[in-house]
Amino acid sequence: MNIVVERPGLLTTLQDLGRVGRQHLGVPVNGAMDEVSHRMANWLVGNDDGEATLEMTLTGPALVFGVDAVIAVCGAGMGAKVDGEALPQWRPVRVPAGAKVVFGRAQWGSRAYLAVAAGFDVPAVMESRSTALLGGYGGFRGRALRKGDVIDLRSPDEAHTVRWIGLLSRSHRGLAFPSWSVSRARLPRPQTLQTIRVVPGRHWQAFPVAVRDQLTQGEYRVLPDSDRMGFRLEGQALEARRGNDVLSEGVVMGAVQVPPGGQPIVLMADRQTAGGYPVIAVVASIDLPLMAQLAPGDRLRFELITLEQSYAELAARERKLGMIREALWARLR
C-alpha cells in the first residue's frame, strides 16, 4: 500500500486545507495554494475535502504505485502519462499496481493536485497534514518529496473500492476512467494578461488616491523568486507611505504588501503569521486559486472590486462546487 517516488519534481509536498486555529501561537497556516483544485481532486476519489493531496509545482514527479489505486489530478496540466498512456485530469482514474505515473512540465497553470482514494497515510501534526517547509514538520517528514521516498497509502474500505471500480470500468485490469469529467477550474492561459480581483487592504485608506490608482492601472510580472510564502511582483512601483514601517501585525493570504522599494509582494499559503509592511489591498478570496496558479514570468493586473461583489462571487462558486460534489456523491450511491 504505497507509492515510490522515482523522481521528486521541482517541489512536491503534501497539503490539506491548512493548519487553522493556531496562528495566535505563531504557527503558520500552510495548506494547498489552490484550494479549489485540491478540494475537487479529493471529491473525485470520494474523499472529504480536508484529506491531504500531493501539490506538484511547475514540474511534476514520477511515481510508481505499489497497489491498485483510484486517483484524481486537478489543477495545472502537466501532461501526465501512465506507462505512456495519457492520464486524463478532472476525473477519477484507476491506476493498476506497478503503474508508473509521470508528470512533465506545467503547460497550463503552475500547480497540480493528486488525490488518492482513502488518502495518504501520514501522521497529522497539530491536526493538519500540511507540510510546513520552514518549520520542517507536517506532510511527509516535514519536507518536499525526494527520490526514493516511499509514501504509505491508507486502504480504502472494500465497499468504496467496489463502487468506484464499478463506476470506472467492468474490467479489473489496466488504466480505467469514466468518459465524464468535472468542469475544470479557472487556470491562467499562458502568455496572456491575467486579471486578479482585489478588495481594499487594511491600509488602503492610508495610501494616497494616486498610489491606489497606480495599483489598479499598472501591469505586473511574477518574479522567479516567488514561492509558497509569497509572490514577488515587478512593475509599477507603488510610492511607499511615509514612515513605511507599521507595527507588525497579523496578515492574510493574498495580502498585497508594499515594502519600501514599492514593488508589491502578495502573501501566499506559507506566509508568516505576522508582517510589518503596509497592506494596500488583498486578493479577493474568489481569485486566490487563480493567483496560486500563476508561474514566474506570468503577467497580471489588479482590478478593485467591492466586498459585496467578492462575497457574491464566492457564494456563487461555492454553490457550483456543492452541485459538483452532490452529483459525484449521487453516482456513488
Binding site: H24, G136, E249, L314
Partner: protein
C-alpha cells in the same frame, strides 16, 4: 488611559476574510495588554465562523470564513455581521489578560562561535563585550507577540544602550537557538533561517516542539530572562533531553 484607548478600538477590514482591531498605533504596555486580553477572550469564546486570532503589538487580527458566517448569521454581509459580533465581544472582553504570567529563563552561551557579532556590537556601543552581556542579561523582558517563524517571540525591554542596527548584509543561514540584537529588538531564532540581526550568543533550548501543548516555550505576556551560561553548561543542557520541563520529545528537525 489615553483618549484613543477610552474611545475603543478601531475596526478595519483586511480583505474579505479578516478584521483588524486596532487598539493603538504605537507600542505601549497598556495597549498590548488590551490586545492580549481581547485575544484571550475570543479564543475562549469563539465567534461563529471565526477561524483564527492573531494578537500583535497594538492590534488584533480576527480571521473568519465568510461562507460559514453567511450560513451561521443568515446574512449576505459577512463582514458586517462579523464586525457587529466582534464589537459585542470587545465590549465584554476584560481590559487585562488572565493568562498566568510565567517567567521563562533562557540560558545563553554568549560570544565565541555562538555570538560572532558580540565583539562588533561591543565596539559599536563603545563598551566591553562583558558589559554588553551584562546589560543583555539584566532586564526582565516581556513577550509582546509571537510570529515571524513558529515559536519566535517579539520581546520588549532591550536596554537602549546596546541597541545595534541590523547587519548590512543578512546571513543566509542563522543556526536555531541563536540570540541576536536587531535595532531595538532582541530575540531568539527558533529555526535555522536567514536573518540580519547581530548574533551575540546561542541557547541550547528548543523553542518550538510540534508535540507539546502549547508547542511554544514563550507565550504573549510571559516574562523572559536571559541567563549567561558557560560552553560546558551549554553542551550539558543541549544533550539533556529534559531541558525544557515537560518537553521531552526530540527537537524539530531543522531544514
Amino acid at each position: 488611559m489615553t483618549e484613543a484607548a477610552s474611545a475603543g478600538p478601531q475596526l478595519l477590514a483586511m480583505g474579505d476574510r479578516a478584521l483588524v482591531v486596532e487598539y493603538g498605533r504605537a507600542l505601549n504596555a497598556i495597549t498590548n495588554a488590551r490586545v492580549r486580553a481581547c485575544a484571550e477572550y475570543l479564543l475562549a469564546h469563539p465567534l461563529p465562523g471565526m477561524t483564527d486570532v492573531v494578537p500583535a503589538y497594538a492590534a488584533l487580527t480576527v480571521y473568519f470564513d465568510p461562507l460559514r458566517v453567511v450560513a451561521d448569521h443568515r446574512t449576505l454581509d459577512p463582514m458586517g455581521a462579523m464586525r457587529e459580533a466582534l464589537l459585542r465581544a470587545i465590549a465584554k472582553a476584560p481590559e487585562s489578560p488572565k493568562h498566568k504570567v510565567r517567567t521563562v529563563e533562557i540560558p545563553v552561551c554568549y560570544g565565541g562561535e555562538f555570538g560572532e557579532d558580540l565583539d562588533d556590537v561591543a565596539r559599536r556601543c563603545e563598551m566591553t563585550p562583558e558589559e554588553v552581556i551584562k546589560r543583555h542579561a539584566k532586564p526582565l523582558y516581556e513577550v509582546h507577540m509571537l510570529g515571524f517563524v513558529p515559536g519566535f517571540a517579539y520581546l520588549g525591554g532591550l536596554d537602549r544602550s546596546i541597541a545595534t542596527a541590523r547587519r548590512d548584509s543578512p546571513r543566509k543561514r542563522i543556526p536555531a537557538g541563536s540570540v541576536g540584537i536587531g535595532g531595538e529588538q532582541t530575540g531568539v531564532y527558533p529555526f535555522a533561517t536567514p536573518g540580519g540581526w547581530n548574533l551575540i550568543g546561542r541557547t541550547p533550548l528548543v523553542l518550538f516542539r510540534i508535540d507539546a501543548d502549547p508547542p511554544v516555550l514563550m507565550e504573549p505576556g510571559d516574562r523572559v530572562r536571559f541567563v549567561p551560561v558557560s560552553r560546558e553548561a551549554f553542551d550539558k543542557l543541549r544533550s539533556d533531553a529534559g531541558t525544557t520541563a515537560g518537553r521531552q520529545s526530540p527537537p524539530v528537525p531543522v531544514p
